[in-house]
Amino acid sequence: MKENAQRILANPKFQELVQKRSAFAWTLSVAMLVIYFGFILLVAFGKGFLGTPIAGGVTTWGIPVGLFTIISAFILTGIYVNRANGEFDELNRQIMEESK
């Protein structure tokens, strides 16, 4: 186990996996945080904007902004799962294989 761990640490693929996956996960997290807290800050300080009717109707800008936040959560999740289940899992499999 301990030997395995050392071999994994020394494997350049491990460094590659960790670096790529962390960068990817953090980029998506930041994207989600920016979108969501953008929405929350608008609720806190930009009520006027969220309450402005679109094109003279009753529907306000708050509705599409809220919908966009919900849909973006789904899309960002999909982007991550797609890459993690393909590229990252394959890399991980190779690392585990080579550490035996």
Binding site: S29, I40, V43, T60, G66, T69, I70, V81, A84, N92
Partner: protein
Amino acid sequence: MRSLVNRVGAAAAAAGALIPASVYAAAVEGQVQKQSTNYEAIVMFLIFVVATLGITYWAARRTKSAKDFYAAGGGITGFQNGLAIAGDYMSAASFLGIAGLVYTSGFDGLIFSVGWLVGWPIILFLVAERLRNLGKYTFADVASYRFQQTPIRTLAACGSLATVTFYLIAQMVGAGKLIQLLFGLDYVVAVVLVGVLMIAYVTFGGMLATTWVQIIKAVLLLSGASFMAFAVLAKFGFSPEALFARATELHPKSISIMAPGALITDPVSAISLGMALMFGTAGLPHILMRFFTVSDAKEARKSVFYATGFIGYFYILTFIIGFGAIVLLLAPDASGAYPFLDAAKLAAAGGKPAPAMIIGGSNMAAIHTANAVGGNLFYGFISAVAFATILAVVAGLTLAGASAVSHDLYASVIAKGRASEHDEIRVSKITTVIIGIVSIFLGIAFENQNVAFMVGLAFVIAASANFPILLMSMFWGKMTTRGAVIGGWVGLISSVTLLVLGPTVWKSVLGNPAAIFPYDNPGAFTIPLSFLAIWFFSITDNSQTAQDERRSFQAQYIRSQTGLGAEGASAH
């Protein structure tokens, strides 16, 4: 109390003289008619409840090991698990609560929907994978991976119990109101009934039962809610604009229901609520367990993807249903009556409808809307689904609370790992009974609170006590036991204290004239405070054990990244 009844009675009589007799009579008639046709709804309801108990019984016979009991044996697919996660999430709070909030406050209900959803991507990106690779069921297992078991598990168990309790209150209130409305029972009797059913449910079934019930229920709730939203939109030629326009005409708050501010009035509250809703999800004890009911990491990731889709879609539906409630419940029917509003309150207000007059309280807005769009059978169906929802969510929650006690406190702290599986399951069943009884009492005390709002409070505790430790222990190698324990207790104690001193508990429930702490949701203060305490008490810790803990981060790191060695551990 007596004088209040007299006053309402007098006001009703006075108002009755002012409004046309036909309106008043029709309103009373509507009420009577509703009571007498409840049998269809009740039969639908009972069929469903018996069916779910049947599934529980079937599952109980297949539950053999602790792994089956807690994690459904690890044999559920990603799609099924996504439905189960969504099922956990589409609780009384989301369905009844958000619809009720939209019905009373309009746009502000959407803030809850958005906040509850966006926690999921963050969990997936930063937490889920590592948790699964470490092969741990609960956040306590993760936190005690390289820290000292006893203090961490004690803290984790208390944090989980506090979160579960607040979450449970909301579900008990939702279920109690539903049973009260449907069967015409006293609220207290209804809550006791729900509590007893819930105890029976968890004690016999365990996680496998709740997983299957959640899956079935998620499908039924999604279809039922889709039909309701479809029916509401169909009345307006599928034009949301027309729906909103009609709602602003009928709602006393008029055009302001289309903008934030009806419920969340100041910036601090908005930010505080926003933080609690997003970060609380990762700290919820019953949610993290769901990553272990699937066979591998691929399926675990897929399940989050499906869950996010289902939950997002469902929240959009509840928003439409909430507006549907406004246009259907606040408008008179063909005979000029308001069948879903309390006749006495309506009469007291001179026949001018307001959302607060709804029979059974605003938590019942979605249930009445079901009746308005689909008649009595559909009303019975939605009630049954909502009730099964609550029962299943409550079961999952209670199980998480019980496992915090049996797995963290009893097996690891008290018995020091020498407890048999049999003992552990027994302790968890005893805990279930105790949690059930406590939540019955709290459910009665919190009768008139909106359930979505209540769950928001549970999220603050999860976000302040559990989430900081979970995140930091996986990302920060310099963290020590001292930092984790102090930070966790600071988050737990500060959030619970400020919740109790805040307007909801101090003023509304305990009946004090003014709240000591001005904000309902203390997340903006308690979450950063907990992080700060973890950081400060870790970097100032130079003991020998602290050095060892820092060195052991590397092993945890490798395993959390690759899953090395996790296969054996997950069988514990």
